[in-house]
Amino acid sequence: MARNEQDITQNIDWLTVLIYAACVTMGLFNVYAAIYDPEEQTKLFDLSNSAGRQLMFIGSAVFIIIAILVIDHKFWEAFARIIYGFSIFLLLAVLVFGSEIKGSHSWIKLGSFSLQPAEFSKIGTALMVSKFITQPNVNLNKFKDKLWVAGILILPMLLILVSKETGCALVFASFMIVLYREGIEGIYPAMLLIAIVLFILSLFFPILYICLGLAALAAIVYRFIIPRYDRSKKTLINLSLVFGMMMLFVSSVDFFTKHVLQPHQRKRIDVLINPKADPTGKGWNVIQSKIAIGSGRLWGKGFLDGTQTKFNFVPEQHSDFIFCTIGEEHGFVGSAAVVLLILGLMCRIIFLAERQRTRFARAYGYCVAGILFFHFLVNIGMTIGLMVVIGIPLPFFSYGGSSMWAFTILLFIFLKLDAQRPYTLSRT
């Protein structure tokens, strides 16, 4: 045991830990900057404000890290089902006992702190998916196993959707990355990509134009791409089916945005297309966020000297819109550094995942990288006006106990698995 522990500290990937520490520290200072009130000289060590609480979350995260490193690595694989089950239980519990905060019914109150089970359900799902797809008898190319995976993913998604945390539910799309790596046919991620592209196209262009474009594309594919000997009636039917589906999808997008989405969600999409449509309402966030980041220029206004974020021009500046504070106070240099840091972390995780000797560890690594990527994509994208405003946090930076703990657990389970790699090698 003593030898094991020593090995843990030796074998743990310190680069990742360093990046993690850098992100968390920068996050803390920016949360502090975002809530800093020059008139009150806000203190950092004060539990009555968000920065103080964030510091406490980070402190408690250290204990969580130690606990994870101490727990035997086999625990996570062995108990994956139970942890997943517990996550689902919590998601169900929140529907019954949960309290409503900011329009979403997804919080469990524990004294003065509130927990968001949705954040933690990502961990359980990641473990469960990794566990399931790496079972020797499971083949992702089999329809039955695909159904199983879909079920594993859709169950928590649906529960989260019911508790009105749409952003958090969308995160589960990121599992496509691990499925892709673990051998699902390329057509599925391709379909996801095509769906996203078509969705965005249909927001900006009339449906009729897109359908005409698709028809033209189909004709080109049939005439020029498909070899002459393949141009049978059957391929023609298949081709028309594929493009027919696409057109159906495009047409349904309109219906979806107009009738299925809540009005506030629909507004967010409208604002992405044209922020000026509603400058004081839903467009406000997008415009103010871009102004804050844009006013930082190359070097930024300096720590605690941001004015756009400080005087409440940007809502949710310390949580979902923390990137605005970074952009305003530290300029392009600071925000580029953060982008590169998170990018580096994701690539490092992929690198580590690829060197794993067990499929479980590798798959789990991909789950972690995928989830981080989705948050990175959406959170920074929305602050710079490239994405729909979806309320999900920037990992390790945004204020919030649940997300801080959840991401820490998510990352360090993987680091523990990675640290154990030399010994697992001898085992299998």
Binding site: E39, T307, F313, A369
Partner: protein
């Protein structure tokens, strides 16, 4: 096979990362749209008070008066009884409604200008009552105020900077809505008068509530107040000169010869400078602009007249210095194509000036042109004229004297080139240009040059460029160019000859009897300036006393007639007033103050009110109003 798929994943991450970095680069470095739309930091310009202008005795001429601009915020405005409010503000219900409509269009939530330039009295009257009308607020501002309705031409006026001026400025100092000197001293000394604007950066939160200085005021600049100007003008003398020129068109320029300081400068008809400092600027301006007597024209500086016989002094001096004549030269009237006014026997240059004998100066100029070894009269004339030109130029003719006002005319002093152009090279000689000998012909001057000539003679040979400001910032601190002596190159004893003639002209010569000042030795020379359109302009230059002169003066009365009978009395009264401090000849003074010669003044026919290229906008001193505009501009940019 799925091993290679990691590269797609890496690729996906990196592509998104690069897209975001490029987007950030545009947002934060390359494109400043979002920076300028920044709404949390507001720059508040701190516009210093414009410098004041004093006269030479320390009396204020121009100063600033506090006024109040009334602003309204339509959202906060809740009044049931609009009518009583209208009565209070002395406006009609219609005016009120239209003003309010304009304000509402501008912004419902932000204050916009409602009424401009409420005087202190008006403000005091309504201040207490306005408490009952929420939504109104005041901002202090200032307007130019004048202690006397005089000296308008030289003072100039201040108004809001025009679009064109804004675009053409060299070092980008001015902002929209700034006040800038548009003419006169206000324009010439603009940089000194305006001071330097300061800027305070303050932060405001999303509700527009002030949140204190930005970066603790590190980037703020402190405004430095405008410098005062100490004018050389004697306000009393100026007003006296104005009163004498009432009912006449023309100009008076009085200079202290030893310093070049201008004591009084009148251009008649004149107007009240305060007309341009009110809300009624546009109306007043166009009214004056349309006036057939052209009161906006500063005749003392930009008028173009022939000097007439006053120029004989220069002819005599130049010819004597060149050796073409001697102080005792005597010429017969024979051969001269012009008449003489009739006088006793001449004994030399002095008596010729005393009687202003035309044939005499015809011969003087002839001698001057031919006083060289060249036998060919054409060539000799060219050589002579070049010499003559060089001398005359040093008397200030043919170029600007460099007065500290923007609209000085150069006048015209013909040279060889000029005549070559008219007649062809070597195809002209003395007989073509002899009109110059008595100050007619192609010679053009303005009254300022004549006054300067009087000062040169008073100084016996030199002058300091005439100027209106003897102190910038503090008294006796003129600009460097106003301490430099300009020599004419004519020896002082030749001047004595001319001075004696000018003294005799007053005592027993061309000057009217009444113009003799008891106890003051005045030396003067009359001039009668021919002009095609009407009666001659009456001109008189003089200085006094003969020794150690205190004042040199030029008076020009348009279309009045012979110089000695109209301009000379005005000049003599001003000299008496300045030297004695009062005028003993009360009846004479009364007569001249009330003499109206306007009926003779020729109104130039084409009085089509051609609109000026750039119509000055009404004066508006409202920096705060500008800020409001700037912030909205930013907002509008976002709102699309």
């Amino acid at each position: 096979m799925s091993e290679n798929r990691k590269f797609f994943v890496y690729g996906l991450f990196v592509v998104v990362g690069i897209i975001y970095l490029i987007r950030l680069l545009f947002l934060q470095v390359l494109d400043n749209t979002y920076e300028t739309a920044s709404n949390s930091i507001k720059a508040i310009p701190d516009v210093p008070m414009r410098g004041q202008i004093y006269d030479r005795k320390g009396n204020l001429i121009v100063f600033n008066t506090l006024v109040y601009d009334l602003y309204v915020t339509p959202n906060k405005f809740k009044v049931k009884d609009t009518l009583s409010l209208c009565n209070l503000l002395k406006i009609t219900k219609n005016d009120f409604d239209s003003l309010m409509r304009v304000a509402k269009i501008y912004s419902r939530a932000k204050p916009s200008l409602f009424m401009r330039q409420l005087s202190k009295e008006d403000f005091a009257r309504i201040q207490d009552a306005m408490v009952d009308y929420p939504g109104f607020e005041y901002l202090k501002s200032s307007i130019r105020t004048y202690s006397a309705p005089t000296f308008a031409h030289a003072l100039g006026y201040v108004s809001e900077i025009s679009k064109k001026q804004l675009d053409n400025q060299d070092n980008l100092y001015y902002h929209q809505g700034d006040l800038v000197g548009q003419s006169g001293l206000e324009k010439y000394y603009e940089e000194q008068l305006r001071g330097r604007r300061g800027v305070r950066y303050v932060m405001q939160d999303v509700h527009g509530v002030a949140k204190g200085p930005w970066k603790d005021g590190e980037l703020d600049t402190i405004a430095s107040a405008g410098q005062n100007l100490y004018s050389s003008i004697d306000l009393k003398l100026q007003q006296y000169s104005d009163s004498l020129m009432a009912g006449k068109a023309g100009a008076v320029v009085a200079i202290e010869p030893s310093s070049g300081e201008i004591l009084a400068m009148t251009s008649a008809p004149t107007y009240d400078p305060a007309l341009f400092a009110t809300r009624e600027f546009s109306k007043n301006y166009s009214k004056l602009y349309r006036d057939p007597y052209k009161p906006l024209n500063n005749r003392a500086l930009s008028g173009s007249y022939r000097p007439g016989s006053t120029f004989k002094t220069v002819q005599a001096l130049v010819a004597m210095q060149e050796g073409a004549i001697s102080p005792g030269s005597i010429f017969s009237h024979a051969g001269a194509p012009m008449k003489c006014h009739g006088h006793g026997g001449l004994t030399g240059v002095s008596s010729a000036i005393q009687w202003s004998c035309n044939p005499y100066f015809y011969h003087v100029f002839r001698r001057m042109l031919y006083a060289n070894s060249e036998k060919n009269t054409f060539k000799a004339s060219a050589i002579g004229l070049t010499k003559w030109h060089d001398y005359t130029e040093k008397f200030g003719f043919g170029h600007k004297l460099g007065i500290d006002l923007p609209s000085e005319s150069s006048g015209k002093l013909p040279d060889v080139k000029y005549y070559d152009k008219i007649y062809g090279e070597k195809r002209w000689k003395f007989s073509n240009i002899y009109s110059l000998s008595i100050g007619e012909g192609e010679l053009l001057i303005n009254p300022l040059k004549l006054a300067n000539l009087a000062a040169i003679i008073a100084n016996r040979g030199w002058y300091i460029a005439p100027h209106l400001v003897k102190g910038v910032g503090k008294n006796n601190n003129p600009l460097a160019q106003y301490t430099e002596k300009h020599e004419t190159g004519v020896e002082p004893h030749y001047f004595e000859t001319v001075v004696n003639g000018m003294e005799m002209a007053v005592i027993r010569g061309t000057v009217s009897r009444g113009a003799i000042i008891p106890d003051v030795q005045m030396c003067g020379k009359t001039g009668t300036s021919q002009n095609k359109k009407g009666k001659d302009h009456s001109i008189f230059i003089a200085f006094a006393p003969k020794y150690n002169p205190k004042i040199a003066i030029a008076v020009l009365v348009e279309n009045a007639g012979f110089g000695g009978f109209y301009a000379a009395p005005v000049a003599s009264l001003i000299i008496e007033k300045y030297i004695k401090g009062h005028v003993d000849r009360k009846a004479y003074e009364h007569e001249w103050k009330n003499k109206n010669l306007m009926q003779n003044v020729i109104i130039l026919k084409p009085q089509t009110p051609k609109p000026k290229e750039e119509k000055p906008t009404p004066p508006k001193s409202k920096p705060e109003a500008t800020i409001v505009k700037q912030t909205t501009a930013a907002e509008k940019k976002i709102n699309g």
